[in-house]
Symmetry: C2
Subunit: 597 residues, 2 copies
């Protein structure tokens, strides 16, 4: 069983995220822990029955365009239908919208079952949820009735349509245009690329959330507006009208994530593509950032889920595959031992465990912050949650996508030659996971977001809030003998990050912006590892406490302590070197002449 | 053009490997530099014309078994025929065998053109060369006449058949058996797995070099013998006889390297598979290690070649793809700049350059040591070359396969979404390269070979020889102002490695073998990075000298200096942390209970 483990999720929700206290809030008064357990059980069951079984097949037989229609395995349809039927598309929405009004962190925890089972099929409903949230936040009541309502039942699916062939990461340069029509709608014209789930037959309609520029808008990102652009027009009574002049130019063929269509779409080739402005003109990018930030954490959780699936698969393999003998007992007539007995196999397992379980905990913590931002009683708590969320989002996006890809590399390695064949799932995890450092803002873009904006915003308020959180953890851990050394280690790492950040802030304030950001990805690594050390210390605190209290599964809890120990011994020390490089303001990348490369 | 660059190869051969002095030796008196240039030109031309064009196609249409025969693209046949026709199969062999009697380092340099162009097709002739070398070294004259001669012309191809389903890395546990026949041959029975090029129709015959145990042999590796097992029997006059009862059980389907068949073969199902003992009984593993050691350096060079191909492709892309604007000039009405202007793109290029060019230089240096071992006038020099080669082989195998895979990751990243599609070659480089840390001894096995054997053998003689080589480089670099800091950095790194090695040696001598090897892969990383720093300092010395002398292409030479600077600033410092972990004798991997994972 390589999919998400219920015990792992319960440990995070109850131990780390204090689900009980969340459930005591008015918004969740209709819920109790048992009800949430049932939700998680349902997710686990659906993931096993409807998502997992076609994971490999959907990779082998990727969606194809036949007679103008995108054809895929029937199992994908069954899976997304079952997902909708179980109410997951509306799970976090208000009861008055037909939702279950669940905490976002529980919904995300439930989604991790689908992501470990079949991340490519899960992408269709997940994108729909993100697009729906955007309409819910910024759309008019009429737009919500027309477009959001059918997205909550799965009648319509959704996408986010930002990138264009000439403007991948540079949204300032999009060219898709919107021209006002007499009826208040806009005529949309342009081409979008890398649109995941941009075309399929899984739903009656597809609602594209499209960034475009209204004629005469300011240049750059300040002139971007957000539009609802349905694939098929929708009549006022909710029935479908004529097609809306959105054309599939082509399907893109990827290394992995093959089950999710990636598309080039053209809008308005025949001049009759209708879009509906969401919110105010020219505010589109800030709206879209809500979906993007959600999506970034979702990407992180997906990367973590793939890392976790590979960890579990390779651990099981290592337990059952005999090969070789202990270093100190090599008599060839003695029986071989399972490879999990070999030190380097354990290293590869601990590395995967530390990366994937840590990453899952981080992403669900971010989801918990979303709940906090929305439901905390005090304004100060909501504000603190927002700050933390802004700061942690680039980490939640990038750390898992880098280090859980690495984890998948080790899963393959444990299986050896078998791992390199398509008969075992680990190579697919690795191929699928390679997408995650690219989409929803590349690794480099997350680094610039963190160091170029987030740590300094509001006079460093977010960084201070995070440091305060870490300090609380450090204090708690210091008083537990098993964790005092780790607590000291995190304290030093935090202080290193603070010193480096202040130093780079001074460089930046002196006008040397490019120099301050020259090694931004090294900063992202250092910051990310420090955050992950904090996450591991928090997990260790829970594990140590539960072990003392005789609560939980002791193997699981001891595993948490071992992974924490591994992270502090083998990973966190890397931040020392990173801090030195950053402090030295190394200019190699700035000084290199492009002709030399 | 993403294949190997002639300027790069000339720089290594002339600047780093002192080809001139090698050519002055008696064995190479028939050669001059111009003749070798022609060989390299021929390789480059063939790589471009016959190997590169079907690299992508052969991945898309992998070999298939149709009516019992393995069918592949006709272009593969054309390529291997052209390779044989040009004399490359025999290029390093004596003239009396019909060879060109070229230095091994030149042959390997020539092969790097094929590896960058199409590593999967190149595997067929490369394995043939390795198998042929084994027969040349240990086979009888009759075996050489019957089997080696046709392998030099490409009439027969070869393989190495070591692994078995139940014994991947654990050769002590192979079960393939050899029973003496009255005529002096042996009846071979058993199953071999992961046999690359194990079945195909590219040649009239396939010569399998098979490890098997003669009935009654000692247990473990001391009872292994080496056999020549042809797919089809060969008559004394060289003509083909009946088939030799070698059956293709199945083709394995891999994530990458798809153009090279990987097979499960069964020998002697009908009791009529004939094998011919090579050399003495029970000495098979030591013979096979000659081929394995050659193959390990070949794997390293292949990994490096893939890293280099990705580097070149992504550098070209970065030069021509406009996206975004400089950090300090973000006016959206200004034109976009090529992405090579962005700091993080340059970082990704420098990282690829440092990894791939460094790895190529290391592997060709190893090939040069093979020449030294064979042709140096003084016994002491030959002995020193052997020691260095033994010590450097695990590095040459593992460092490129780890860090050039990483390089390919960054090549994809530079291309962004495009890099993740199968329309661009970088994802294939990445998939192909993922094999390299697995075959010919996994990453973990190389680590145990290095720390468990090589650094301590002969009282540390090999390590001392390497340290002396590094000291020479350090002295030379210290006197050049541009390199003095790097020289000091390498000196510190070397001294760190020496201290850690001595420490672990003491632990080992105290009987704590498992503890001394608990973090062997961290040691491999630390050692490998230190070797790579030495390789880069040697390259920088040549570049700095040539620039002073007005020799060579100044952009290329400045690029060498920049990559060296990058490696010393960003990579070498990692060894500090690694040394700390190793010195602390961290036991996390030993203490973890397998039930916790």
């Amino acid at each position: 069983m390589s999919r998400m483990d219920r015990g792992e999720i319960d440990f995070i929700l109850d131990g780390l995220l204090d689900l009980d206290s969340l459930l005591s809030r008015p918004r969740f008064s209709h819920l109790d822990r048992d009800a949430l357990s049932q939700v998680l059980d349902t997710a686990a069951g659906l993931a096993d029955d409807k998502f997992g079984p076609h994971y490999h097949e959907a990779d082998k037989h990727e969606p194809d365009r036949i007679n103008g229609k995108v054809v895929m395995l029937p199992a994908v349809q069954e899976a997304v239908d079952a997902f909708a039927e179980a109410g997951f598309l509306a799970a976090h929405h208000d009861e008055e919208l037909g939702g279950l009004q669940l905490p976002w962190c529980v919904v995300q925890a439930a989604f991790s079952f689908f992501q470990t089972a079949n991340i490519a099929t899960a992408a269709y409903p997940f994108l729909t949820i993100g697009a729906g949230n955007l309409i819910r936040s910024f759309g008019s009541e009429a737009q919500q009735a027309k477009f959001l309502a059918p997205m909550l039942t799965g009648r319509f699916f959704g996408t986010m349509a930002l990138s264009e062939p000439q403007a991948g990461s540079s949204l300032a340069d999009i060219r898709t245009s919107a021209t006002p029509n007499p009826d208040g709608s806009y005529a949309i014209t342009g081409t979008k690329q890398w649109i995941s789930a941009g075309e399929h037959e899984l739903s009656d309609n597809i609602v594209h959330m499209v960034l475009a520029k209204i004629k005469g808008a300011p240049a750059g990102v300040k002139g971007i507006s957000l539009f609802i652009v349905p694939r098929i027009r929708v009549n006022d009574d909710g029935s479908l009208g004529p097609d809306n002049d959105v054309r599939l130019v082509s399907l893109l063929h990827k290394m992995g994530y093959r089950g999710t269509t990636s598309t080039i779409l053209s809008f308005g080739e025949e001049g009759r593509c209708q879009g509906f402005l969401v919110g105010q003109a020219h505010h589109g990018l800030s709206y879209m950032f809500q979906m993007m930030n959600e999506a970034r954490i979702g990407v992180g959780l997906g990367a973590a889920a793939l890392g976790y699936a590979g960890y579990r698969y390779s651990a099981e393999y290592a337990r059952t595959r005999p090969q070789g003998r202990p270093l100190e007992a090599r008599d060839p007539t003695s029986p071989m031992v399972p490879i999990i007995e070999h030190a380097d196999v354990r290293r590869m397992l601990l590395q995967q465990k530390a990366a994937s379980e840590g990453a899952i905990a981080l992403c669900l913590l971010c989801a918990r912050l979303v709940d906090e931002e929305r439901t905390a009683a005090e304004e100060a708590d909501r504000r603190r949650a927002s700050l933390l969320l802004e700061l942690l989002t680039p980490i939640a996006k990038s750390w898992p996508s880098e280090h859980c890809l690495e984890a998948n590399k080790w899963a393959i390695q444990i299986l050896g030659g078998y791992g390199y064949t398509r008969d075992y799932p680990v190579e697919q995890y690795y191929r699928d996971n390679r997408l995650n450092p690219i989409h929803e803002g590349t690794y480099g873009i997350q680094a610039n977001d963190l160091l170029g904006r987030k740590v300094f915003m509001d006079g460093g308020a977010a960084f201070e809030a995070l440091a305060a959180e870490m300090a609380t953890t450090i204090t708690a851990a210091t008083s537990r003998p098993a964790l005092a050394t780790h607590a000291a280690g995190l304290g030093e790492a935090l202080s290193r990050v603070a010193t480096v950040t202040a130093h780079l802030g001074t460089v930046r304030a002196g006008g040397h912006v490019a120099l301050s950001l020259a090694n931004a990805t090294t900063y992202l690594e250092m910051f990310g590892h420090t955050v992950m050390a904090w996450i591991w210390l928090r997990q260790a605190l829970v594990a140590d406490t539960w072990l003392t209290d005789g609560k939980g599964d002791s193997n699981h809890l001891n595993g948490k302590l071992a992974a924490c120990r591994w992270f502090f011994a083998h990973e966190l020390p890397k931040t020392v070197t990173q801090a030195t490089i950053l402090t030295s303001l190394d200019r190699t990348v700035l000084d290199v002449d492009t002709a030399w490369l």
